[in-house]
């Protein structure tokens, strides 16, 4: 039984190594750095509002829409960061619209949309969006960069 367990561990390791290589290849092929843009979602520290869904538009075109499961929301609340969109855009100025929908502990529905401008240069563009409920001390949707 132990022999098999070791073989299972070995194959896990091999498949992970394939996944790593494939990931790199895929990124190079599908999202070259000069056009690559990625949007990451995180939830502000200590936030307990229930995030239901997020919609992302770039230059007016919807590029991502995500409905959150309980597990996903919990992962965000515990410091996880979700890559909600990976894509390609030209260098230059762009517009990002973020809409979020959720519910407060009181049961009140919340929804907010915010627009931001960002510049895409030749290196990959990583855009961070931090969400909080609009009535809290921080702004509802904040843009950051990595």
């Amino acid at each position: 039984m132990k022999g098999l367990d070791e073989q299972v561990q070995e194959i896990k390791s091999d498949v992970l190594s394939i996944a790593t290589e494939l990931n790199t290849l895929e990124e190079r092929l599908l999202f070259p750095s000069n056009t690559q843009v990625a949007v990451f979602i995180s939830v502000a520290e200590g936030e307990e509002f229930r995030l239901d869904a997020v919609q992302i538009k770039i230059d007016g075109a919807p590029v991502a829409h995500h409905i959150y499961s309980f597990k996903e929301l919990e992962a965000l609340q515990q410091g996880g960061v979700q890559r909600v969109y990976s894509g390609n855009i030209r260098t230059g100025e762009h517009e990002l619209d973020v809409s979020m929908y959720g519910k407060l502990a009181s049961g009140k529905d919340v929804s907010e949309t915010a627009s931001f401008r960002f510049t895409k240069n030749i290196e990959p563009k990583l855009v961070g969006v931090t969400l909080a409920h609009p009535n809290s001390s921080s702004a509802g949707i904040q843009l950051g960069e990595w």
Binding site: M1, L4, D5, E6, Q7, V8, Q9, I11, K12, S13, D14, V15, L16, S17, I18, A19, T20, E21, L22, N23, T24, L25, E26, R28, L29, L30, P32, N34, T35, A38, F40, S42, E45, K71, E72, E74, A75, L76, Q78, G79, G80, V81, Q82, R83, T91, I122, L126, G128, W146
Partner: protein, 640 residues
């Protein structure tokens, strides 16, 4: 019985340390955050995949301190080990954690790593190594694991046959909130193994009365009561045994065993009437449970002891039928497993969405192979093998999906090649012309700058003459040369006029020199702005040109290699899955055969007992008839 007692290891209750660390510090690398996002959802493969890529890129950098992962590198390396551990990759996890231990990391992180390494060794039945790892813990220990460290130490001492040391450690842990129930129970077991019977019984009695709300603590409390009941039963203290068994909840993982044992405690105390109560509850439960099956024989036995033979015969008859049905189920299960349906049922997607999927398996229609799974799941080896099988199935799905992805990649590359290849030669030729012009102009600009810089130390007003001034100077020179060439004596008037003209020219150049130099530098600055824009456009074009090329060139070998690796991996995985599946089937069939033998024995016992009870009931009825005829109206034992 005490020898068979096992300590509860309570593994997997420690929250992800990495999450706390990420929350506590400014996140600089979103991909690290993404790995945490997956790990927090239990997707350790995806978490490791993300983190492995990040770490590989980080290690390949010339200046890693400029990388976003740099500020998280300690946490990232630690997390890799942690995720590997959770993904049941103990070998790699051990290596990763050892690397953290040997690295320059914070004391708390190092101690946490040592704890996790100890846990790996303990899980792999290497208690000496586990103790060695625990002994490396020194200084500050993260608060959220400090009790777990000591709890593990106690378990290691128990495995090493040092119950006395375990007792010392566990006594210090009494009252720990996070270990409530577990530390009390394990202390009881440690005392028992240390030969301190009386103290052990007192301790298990305490463990059996802890106040609890969560399912884990409630279950361990039940186990303590069951253990105590069994120990007291063995010492013939039936009333105390009964009291302890009564504390086990009616609904819980130990309730069937407790009900069975409670009945036997009553029987041993010759209180047959009372034994009927727990056993009557028990026989109504899931018929595949071993305790329920024993109760099917025990209940009529109690009735027969009460001389209620008719009822006993009836129940024995029902037991014979029930055992027959169960034997049919076992036969069907064995056949179904042999046909490969057991493995098919295990990987059913809709079932695995639920965390209690193993329990739900039994309720699936048309899956006889899963009826007796619960008993199998009690075995650690079976659980490990099953989990491995499920992991392999997940990996298989990934590999199959990747395999089909390569064709899409190749299509993409082909289309890009078709688009770019006809365009690029013309673009390149145009670019070469522009490039030559640009190089020339840039060289001219460079020469101008060099000259101007030189003029700051060695003024050259003539270099700053305007075009008109240059023409004028040339014309003056021409007139002078013509005069000289004509051989005529110099006309003083003409000579003077030419000298005056040259004088005016020189005067203007000399007096305007600084202004002109400043103006020229200003123009050079303006030129630099234009040149910078040009250079940016040039660079952008070169990069776009390279990107166009890189979008379809250089992928053949990596794709070929990856395709081969995936194919080879899939072949290996299929073989391994077959072995793992075969092993699961064999273990399942062996278990079912052993249950089959037991059921056959029970069935035989029930048949004999049925015949015996039937005879006795008939005799009793025959004896009772005259009394009935005598008109006393006694109903006899059938009323029971």
């Amino acid at each position: 019985m005490p020898g068979a007692a096992t300590v509860r290891t309570r593994l997997g209750v420690i929250a992800l340390l990495v999450a706390g660390n990420v929350l506590g510090a400014e996140l600089t690398d979103p991909y690290f955050g993404e790995a945490v996002y997956y790990a927090q959802q239990g997707y350790y493969f995806e978490a490791l995949e993300r983190l492995d890529v990040e770490l590989a890129q980080h290690r390949g950098l010339d200046e890693p301190e400029r990388d976003a992962l740099y500020s998280h590198i300690g946490q990232a390396q630690f997390s890799v080990g942690d995720f590997e551990l959770r993904y049941r990759m103990h070998h790699r996890a051990g290596r990763a954690i050892r690397a953290v231990l040997e690295g320059d990391v914070d004391e708390e992180v190092r101690n946490d790593a040592a704890f996790r390494l100890a846990r790996i060794h303990f899980q792999k039945d290497q208690p000496e190594d586990a103790l060695h790892a625990l002994n490396r813990i020194n200084g500050r220990v993260p608060e959220n694991i400090s009790d777990d460290v000591e709890f593990l130490r106690a378990n290691v001492y128990m495995s090493l046959g040092r119950p006395s040391d375990a007792v010392d450690v566990l006594q210090r842990l009494q009252g720990s909130k996070s270990l409530q129930g577990f530390s009390e129970y394990n202390l009881g077991i440690a005392l028992l193994q240390d030969g301190r019977q009386r103290e052990a019984l007192e301790q298990l009695d305490r463990a059996g009365q802890v106040k609890a709300e969560d399912q884990g603590t409630l279950a361990i409390r039940d186990k303590a009561n069951l253990m105590l009941g069994a120990l007291l039963f063995e010492t013939a203290d039936f009333s105390d045994s009964q009291r302890s068994l009564d504390r086990v909840r009616l609904e819980g993982p130990f309730s069937n065993k407790a009900l069975l044992r409670a009945g036997w405690a009553d029987v041993s105390a010759e209180n047959y009437q009372r034994a009927i109560v727990p056993w009557t509850i028990l026989v109504e439960r899931e018929a595949t449970d071993i305790a329920v099956q024993e109760a099917m024989l025990a209940l009529p036995y109690a009735y027969s002891k009460l001389n209620i033979y008719g009822r006993a015969a009836l129940l024995y008859g029902q037991a014979v039928e029930a055992f027959s049905e169960e034997l049919d189920k076992v036969d069907a299960s064995i056949s179904s497993i042999r046909e490969g349906r057991f493995l098919e049922a295990l990987v059913r997607e809709e079932i695995r969405q639920d965390k209690d999927w193993v329990i739900r398996l039994r309720s699936l229609p048309q899956t006889p192979e899963t009826y007796y799974l619960m008993a199998l799941m009690a075995s650690h080896d079976f659980q490990t093998a099953l989990q491995n099988y499920l992991d392999l199935e997940d990996l298989r799905k990934k590999l199959v999906s990747w395999q089909s992805g390569f064709d899409a990649f190749e299509d993409l590359i082909r289309l890009r090649r078709q688009y770019y290849e006809p365009l690029l030669p013309e673009i390149d030729s145009h670019f070469r012309r522009l490039d030559a012009q640009m190089r020339l102009r840039l060289e001219q600009r460079q020469n101008l700058e060099k000259r101007l810089q030189g003029m700051l130390t060695a003024p050259r007003p003539d270099f700053l003459a305007t075009a008109d001034e240059r023409i004028l100077g040339t014309r003056i020179e021409g007139l002078e040369a013509r005069l000289q060439a004509s051989g005529q004596a110099m006309d003083t008037g003409v000579q003077l006029r030419l000298a005056r003209l040259r004088g005016v020219l020189v005067w203007n150049l000399e007096t305007d020199y600084h202004a002109r130099l400043t103006e020229t530098f200003k123009h050079l600055g303006e030129l630099n702005v234009v040149v910078d824009i040009l250079q940016t456009q040039y660079d952008a074009f070169v990069r776009s040109r390279q990107a166009a090329m890189h979008s379809y060139v250089g992928y053949e070998i990596p794709i070929q290699r990856l395709r081969a690796r995936v194919t080879e991996g899939l072949e290996r995985l299929n073989l391994l899955m077959a072995s793992q599946g075969h092993m699961l089937e064999t273990v399942a069939i062996n278990e079912l055969k052993s249950r089959q033998q037991q059921l056959e024995t029970y069935q035989n016992e029930a048949r004999y007992a049925f015949a015996d009870s039937y005879d006795r009931a008939s005799k009793a009825q025959a004896q009772a008839k005259p009394e009935v005829q005598a008109g006393d109206g006694a109903a006899g034992e059938e009323q029971g």
